[in-house]
């Protein structure tokens, strides 16, 4: 019911022009003036914009001849009665004054004068003017172009927009997108993702509809983040959603788009079965497939016999699909109250069958001034989503475990299997996908209520209570299916042997209570003092339950467990944690010239034993606005503002699991005499001495505003050192095969530079543009690791090197002749089991790095790279010409490598029954002595599969995330339809990626739901 209603509303919005009559724009005017003038006077219509082409509301428009005054609407439009020759004056706080003849005032651009400095930046538990900032805060304002992109979630929308914020998309599963978000690099060996606070309540970035967002602030240094104490070590992202503005007419707006998406990148695989078989024969060194069989396949498939397929599985299984999103909102306010209401609908079909995602999302933010001294307000938000349960890694493993010789689905509906008697059935991705049904349903509700009491003129008391509730219910039904050898009509045994049904439910909730006092006062007209003290208390709780039964009644997606006969499993689990804190901030400045600030938080966490439970996290910062000094006045011709600033502080990280200080015994059942009996044993070795990880950040910065506020430049240097890092160094397995206990033994440093530049320019009256760029570097180094090292697969962590540096053999060359091997053996070289023993021509020769004449694991060397980029950069470009606007966002990373090899998708060690990468056609053979690619071997061989830099790829890339071209119809035209603003746009998302990496996605070399590229057409309407 609820969903239908939402859907009806969003559909209605699409055809919603008919609605606009009731909210028709009233033309404000001065009554006396209209009658006094002759017939030459006409209502002049126009629109006011800023340099970026964004519409400006609240601009005062004055007819200098008649003194009539009107104010532009929130969509920038105005109507004023004037002669074509009349001079109109446009004025708005923070913008330069513009005077224009009425006849040329259809579209007027205002240029920012003071806005850069006057801009209000959201900081922890408050806001500050940019000119007073002494910490490092990156602020991203969301405009029409940002929220119109088909990003579907807030993480994607932020990519490239903020210096020091690196967002890598690891999976594009619709509704289950995975991101790795880091602020100023990986600051700890544990969960290094930043704290996300949405309107004052901790939450998750992707729970916010991007189109509801007004602003995102990234708190990067200790000065700005210390007020979040024990959770702030990895940075804080503050999301502020839109609220209605007071004293403005209610506006209805719609934005929506529809378009098509497909995989952003694909890899070529061998789709010719005859070739496939020849390659398997070559790798196995025998006629696994008889030569006449191969020839028969080649002949029959060329003749179009469907029983001899050459299936292109990627082409078969990855689709082009529809992506559409609709958002409607109403916002505005009267004298004492205001509100913003939004409803959104998203439908992402994904590019793999049965991976649909639908989301209905809403938000209501309302405020009321109930008395002179009291304001109350609340936010209510939530969403309802449905997601089909395709597990991308299982799906890709079915693609990996098939061959071009398998028919996806025969004309009579049967699924194909391998067609070689005596060999396994193989796998059929289409059968796999068709026979798993399921749904992940999620309902999320968030509430926040607050009251602000003005106790005195300069003292206010704010108290708020927030509550987040999350309910997940999943079901999955797996139906057995059979594959057929369609050539012989042989039916393979069905898999799985019996149908089964899985149900799970999970509930999360959290409560946040906080109360704070704010005091601001100016003494003697020069000393500005601000004080904030507060208390905060939070509780998080998760409970989950799941069960599985088999032998389900019927076969048609029954999803209630009572339909099953046999119990397979029941599991239940839960965790909770609590946090109590006191915090405060003092700011002081003298004539806004010398700025000083101190922040502190005192945090108590349930995650640590009583003795180590409370931690104190202080920070100090100072700034000097050089440009305000008398001696600097000559510089004012070029520099509008010069500020140097510095900060130092300590932050904590408590993200280490909820009960790690407790030794916990778990259940290990064992059946005696046919009866399961309880067994109890230790599950984890504990360390009751664990304490906070402490991150100390020093930051210096320089902010410049030049050329009449057109150019802003900001540069900073940071040094972020985390000590007492909780880590689990491997312990001997003789300890009982436990996971190692947490220990505060490591230290790590990240330092680097950040730059941000923005230039707003114009050419002529109609063309304006903005170019912005940001760049940040991260240099990571492990300072302490207990003098030890941790090797995991192809990476190592040890003192003096970046965290998780690659550690592997170095590939030297492909051996071309037996004589070379003979020579090596004659020279006393030996080959260990690690490299697969003595090689043959066509195999890889590694470097004997330690010079001991033995090729083995001791030759592994530490590489200067890890999978964390050393360089991140972003680029934004926007331009406006008359009704047209263009917005481009680009993003890239550098100084990064990823390991991709021997995962079955990228290897020269092949067997029957697996897809083969097209690249192996270039392999070494005695006839084609490749120096680049090894010969074919089977997967059981350790030859050519050892961890080596042969498989290490440079995954630096630059991606044009988004290109958006929009056109807004002139308001003269739209007003005929009672519409204030109508903009159509086209957007290309993730379309152009420049990289040397030839895997799926340089953001994540391993196999995941492929990144998608979208092209869409969209519409923005306001009335």
């Amino acid at each position: 019911m609820y969903r239908q209603l939402l859907f009806a509303l969003s559909v209605f919005a699409m055809v919603g022009n008919a609605w606009s009559a009731s909210s028709k724009t009233k033309v404000p005017f001065s009554p006396g003036a209209l009658w006094a003038q002759g017939s030459a006077q006409q209502p002049v219509k126009g629109v006011v914009k800023d340099e970026r082409g964004q519409v400006l509301g609240g601009v005062e428009v004055r007819n200098l001849r008649t003194s009539e005054v009107v104010v532009s609407d929130s969509d920038g439009s105005f109507v004023i009665v004037a002669n074509p020759d009349d001079q109109l004056q446009f004025r708005s706080i923070g913008y330069g004054l513009v005077v224009r003849a009425a006849g040329e005032a259809k579209e007027v651009q205002l240029t920012v004068e003071e806005s850069v400095l006057e801009e209000v930046v959201i900081v922890g538990y408050g806001s500050q003017k940019r000119q007073n900032l002494t910490g490092s805060v990156a602020s991203v304002n969301f405009n029409e172009a940002t929220t119109s992109r088909p990003t579907t979630n807030l993480s994607s929308a932020l990519v490239g927009l903020s210096p020091g914020l690196n967002i890598a998309q690891t999976s594009a599963t619709p509704g289950g997108e995975g991101f790795n978000i880091l602020v100023r690099g990986q600051g700890t060996m544990n969960d290094a993702s930043p704290l996300v606070v949405i309107d004052g309540v901790p939450g998750a970035l992707n729970d916010v509809n991007p189109s509801d967002v007004a602003n995102v602030s990234v708190l990067k240094d200790a000065s700005s983040a210390a007020i979040y104490g024990s959770r702030a070590a990895n940075g804080v992202i503050l999301v502020t959603t839109k609220r209605g503005s007071r004293d403005s007419k209610y506006k209805f707006s719609y934005n929506g788009y529809a378009g098509s998406q497909s995989a952003a990148n694909t890899i070529d695989y061998i789709t010719d079965m005859a070739t496939h078989m020849e390659l398997v024969n070559e790798s196995e060194g025998r006629e696994k497939y008889a030569t006449d069989l191969i020839e028969q396949w080649r002949t029959e498939s060329a003749a179009g016999n469907p029983l001899y397929p050459n299936t292109d599985w990627y082409g078969e299984m990855l689709n082009n699909s529809l992506l559409t999103e609709h958002n409607v909102s109403v916002s505005g306010g009267g004298q004492n109250s205001n509100m913003a209401l939004s409803l959104g609908y998203l439908n992402n079909k994904g590019i793999i069958d049965n991976s649909d995602y639908k989301r209905y999302i809403f938000r209501l933010n309302a405020d009321a001034k109930v008395a002179d001294f009291l304001r109350v307000g609340g936010n209510v938000f939530g969403n309802w989503s449905d997601r089909d349960l395709i597990d991308a890694s299982s799906f890709f493993s079915t693609i990996r475990n098939t061959t071009p010789g398998v028919i996806p689905q025969y004309e009579d509906g049967r699924y194909g299997g391998e067609m070689f008697p005596g060999l396994p059935a193989g796998s059929n991705p289409m059968a796999y996908i068709d026979n798993i049904r399921g749904n992940a349903e999620r309902q999320r509700l968030g509430l926040k209520f607050f009251g602000i009491v003005n106790i005195l003129k300069s003292l206010e008391w704010e108290t708020s209570f927030g509550f987040n509730y999350n309910n997940n219910r999943n079901w999955q039904y797996v139906r057995p299916y059979s594959l057929w050898n369609l050539q012989t009509d042989f039916k393979y045994p069905q898999t799985p042997s019996i149908n089964s049904l899985f149900n799970s439910s999970r509930r999360d909730y959290s409560t946040v209570f906080n109360s704070l006092l704010r005091y601001t006062e100016t003494f003697g007209g020069a000393h500005n003092v601000g004080v904030l003290v507060g208390f905060d208390q939070q509780y998080n709780r998760m409970d989950m339950f799941d069960a599985k039964k088999n032998d389900i009644l019927g076969d048609d997606a029954i999803y209630i467990l009572d339909a099953g006969a046999n119990m397979e499993a029941i599991n239940g689990s839960g965790t909770d944690d609590a946090l109590q804190s006191f915090f405060g901030r003092i700011t002081y400045d003298y004539k806004q010239k010398y700025l000083i600030e101190a922040n502190a938080r005192y945090d108590g966490s349930s995650r640590f034993a009583k003795e180590n439970r409370w931690g104190f996290f202080p920070s100090f910062s100072a700034g000097w606005r050089l440009s305000e000094e008398a001696f600097a006045q000559p510089l004012k011709t070029v520099f509008d503002d010069i500020k140097v600033r510095g900060s130092w502080g300590r932050l904590g990280n408590n993200r280490i699991g909820d009960y790690t200080y407790q030794i916990v015994y778990g259940s290990y059942l064992y059946p005696f005499g046919g009866q399961l009996q309880q067994g109890v044993g230790p599950t984890e070795i504990a360390n009751s001495n664990i304490k906070w990880e402490t991150t100390t950040i020093s930051n210096v910065g320089l902010d410049l505003v030049l050329l009449k506020n057109r150019l802003t430049v900001s540069a900073e240097y940071y040094d972020k050192t985390t000590t007492d890092i909780l880590t689990k160094i491997p312990i001997p397995l003789v300890m009982g095969n436990f996971l190692p206990p947490w220990q505060n033994i490591a230290a790590m440093r990240n330092n680097g530079l950040e730059f941000q530049v923005g230039y707003q320019g114009r050419a002529g009256n109609d063309f304006t543009y903005f170019v912005g760029g940001n760049l940040s570097t991260v240099h990571n180094k492990v300072l302490e690791f207990n003098g030890d090292q941790s090797i995991s697969g192809a990476t190592i962590t040890q003192e003096g090197n970046p965290f998780n540096s690659f550690y592997m053999l170095e590939f030297d060359h492909i051996i071309q002749d037996q004589s070379e091997i003979d020579q090596l053996l004659a020279d006393g070289y030996t080959f260990g089991t690690y490299v697969g023993g003595v090689p043959s021509p066509g195999d890889m020769l590694y470097k004997d790095a330690n010079g001991d004449k033995v090729f083995n694991d001791a030759d592994r060397v530490v590489k200067d790279y890890s999978s964390l980029p050393k360089l991140n950069y972003g680029l934004t470009l926007s331009a406006a010409y008359k009704g047209f606007d263009l917005n481009v966002v680009g993003q890239g990373i550098g100084g990064v490598r990823q390991y991709w090899g021997n995962d079955g998708f990228n290897t020269f060690n092949i067997n029957e029954g697996f897809l083969q990468r097209a690249e192996i056609l270039n392999r070494w053979t005695p006839e084609n002595k490749s120096t680049e690619y090894p010969r074919l071997r089977t997967s059981g061989s350790a030859l050519n599969t050892a961890y080596s830099d042969y498989w290490l790829y440079n995954t630096a890339y630059f991606r044009i995330k988004s290109i958006q071209l929009g056109y807004a119809l002139p308001s003269a035209t739209t007003s005929k339809f009672k519409v204030d603003r109508l903009r159509i746009y086209a957007n290309l998302e993730n379309f152009f990626t420049f990289t040397k990496f030839d895997g799926y996605n340089p953001e994540n070399a391993s196999v995941a739901y492929p990144l998608m590229k979208q092209w869409i057409l969209g519409l923005n309407i306001t009335f």
Binding site: T463, I498, A578, I791
Partner: protein, 537 residues
């Protein structure tokens, strides 16, 4: 509205919400904290139960113990693993997972041995629990010793900084196992009933001590232990060989120590999947298959060796097993499997035999395989493979594919009797009557005639080794046997796995260094005090 009233209400609210004192005390919602454990008899029992659990975990997650035979000449796996081809490197997860799991059992046993003595409880139960812990610790050390050679010895739950010992010598580990089994023998009972079935008995401890002696080539000591077990224990051979490997045979009179299972997800064994076939209730994948070498090793019912040259094909020519056409004639193939050691048909499904599969229906293994006839037995590998009957439930009604309630025998009386014969034969210059009696007891139970008399020590050794191969096939014993006999390289290395029609599948490898598993690379990375086994450097 009055400002002071509002402020008053808010202050009150603030006071209420922040008043809770224990707000930050949060105990785990799912676990039991250590401080509250090891207090009662119930705790002690639950503590030792968890030591058994490791055995189940090993058997379930590494490879079903019986599938260790896939690394020998008597069975094979359908897809390549480095253990069958001789290509595993020292960092293969197989080795580290096994190593870690045995030490997990040892750690838990040490936890029991540390904490249980101090608990006030029934002394008899306490003694039993301490005995079980000694037995299981010794058992896990035996497995480590068998696979890895000398390993570090830890006899108490140590701290991390104490976990970096070098390897103990072969002799030290042997002595430690003997000591644990001696302790266990003194403390344990001879049998259990009902819901204690499956716990270690004193006979299990005696058998393991004898085994340790046998592995150490202390033949007289071994023979003495096995003899004592044969004379004093209540264990007797079960009449029906086939039932030993069915659910109906759980806790039979012959079993000495096993891993116990029930038909519940996570607590059953995956025999139906791995040994089973398409006709079973859960459609097994026949991951392990008996080799033609094993099938051909079964004697004729009269005790003479089997030989293809004694049989003819459809044309009356001598039967050529490497000629697929010869296998297409029903009558001549049936003749191959008639009048053989009865254990052949009880352990293995051969062409033209029947199998009672799901729902109690009888399926006939036609060859060449017929897939269209619903009464036909269809193996997963249709080219010409034998299939296990052993451990595959007949007429199965169980539907949880990886969770059969079939107990898996680790030591049974026939094994002990044959080990006695072996030890006694090795200890003497020539076999005495007790050696003949032992081997004949096992043969007679299966319906086979006595051994011929007058065998030399060497001939008797051959007979005992053959008897162990066919009697214990598919139970995993041979993987240890051929390594301790030093014949593994001879019987495995370079040998092709084939279908019974002679079609080659994959060549096996057993390099010299395969007699011992490597110290896992990851363990050596953490503890440099560990020396590597020869050939694995």
């Amino acid at each position: 509205m009055n400002k002071l009233n509002i402020i008053g209400v808010l202050v009150l609210l603030l006071g209420t919400l922040s008043a809770c004192n224990d707000f930050l005390d949060r105990d785990s919602l799912v676990g039991l904290s250590e401080g509250g454990f090891w207090k009662s008899e119930q705790d002690a029992i639950m503590g030792v139960n968890a030591v058994y659990e490791v055995n189940r975990e090993f058997t379930n997650s590494i490879v079903i113990y019986g599938m260790m035979d896939d690394f020998t000449d008597i069975s094979y796996q359908s897809f390549a693993t480095g253990l069958t081809t001789g290509a595993f490197p020292a960092n293969a997860a197989f080795y580290s997972a096994s190593w870690g799991m045995f030490y997990k059992g040892i750690y838990r046993a040490n936890t029991v041995l540390k904490n249980v003595p101090g608990i006030a409880m029934n002394e008899a139960v306490k003694n039993r629990i301490i005995g079980e812990a000694h037995f299981l610790r010794g058992y896990y050390y035996f497995k480590l010793w068998d696979y890895f050679g000398g390993v570090p010895i830890y006899d108490k739950p140590m701290n991390v900084d104490e976990a970096y010992k070098p390897r103990a010598t072969n002799g030290e580990v042997y002595a430690f196992i003997v000591n644990d089994m001696t302790e266990a023998y003194a403390l344990l009972e001879g049998s259990y009933s009902g819901s204690d079935a499956g716990r270690a008995t004193k006979w299990a401890a005696l058998a393991m001590r004898g085994k340790a002696h046998l592995w150490a080539k202390e033949y007289e000591k071994a023979a003495a232990d096995f003899r004592e077990l044969m004379e004093k224990s209540d264990r007797v051979l079960l009449d029906d060989y086939h039932t030993l490997f069915r659910v109906a045979g759980n806790n039979n009179s012959e079993v000495i120590f096993d891993v116990q299972y029930v038909a519940e997800k996570g607590y059953g064994i995956a025999t139906d999947r791995n040994y089973g076939n398409a006709m079973g209730a859960t459609s097994g994948s026949q991951r392990t298959r008996p080799t033609p070498e094993l099938v051909n090793a079964y004697e004729m019912a009269d005790g003479t060796p089997f030989d293809f040259s004694n049989f003819t094909n459809a044309d009356g020519d001598p039967f050529n097993p490497d000629n697929p056409a010869d296998w297409n004639d029903e009558a001549s193939v049936r003749a191959l499997f008639a009048n053989r050691d009865p254990r052949l048909q009880q352990a293995i499904v051969v062409p033209w035999s029947t199998f009672v599969g799901r729902g109690g229906a009888e399926y006939l293994y036609r060859f060449p395989v017929v897939t269209t006839d619903p009464t036909s037995y269809v193996p997963v590998w249709t080219n010409g493979s034998y299939a296990w009957r052993k451990f595959v439930e007949t007429g199965s009604v169980y539907t949880l594919q990886d969770n059969m309630p079939q107990n898996f025998p680790l030591i049974r009386l026939a094994d002990v009797i044959l080990m006695y014969a072996e030890a006694q034969n090795e200890a003497l210059g020539a076999p005495d009557q007790s050696v003949y009696d032992a081997v004949n007891a096992v043969r007679n139970r299966a319906g086979m005639p006595d051994l011929p008399t007058g065998l030399s020590k060497g001939q008797m050794q051959e007979r005992i080794r053959h008897e162990r191969m066919v009697e214990l096939c598919g139970e995993g014993q041979r993987y240890s046997d051929i390594r301790r006999w030093g014949i593994a390289k001879d019987v495995v290395d370079g040998v092709w796995m084939t279908e019974f029609t002679g079609v080659q599948i994959r060549q096996r490898g057993f390099p010299d260094h395969y007699y011992l598993w490597p110290i896992p690379q990851s363990e050596k990375d953490v503890n440099p005090n560990l020396d590597q086994n020869p050939g694995w450097e």
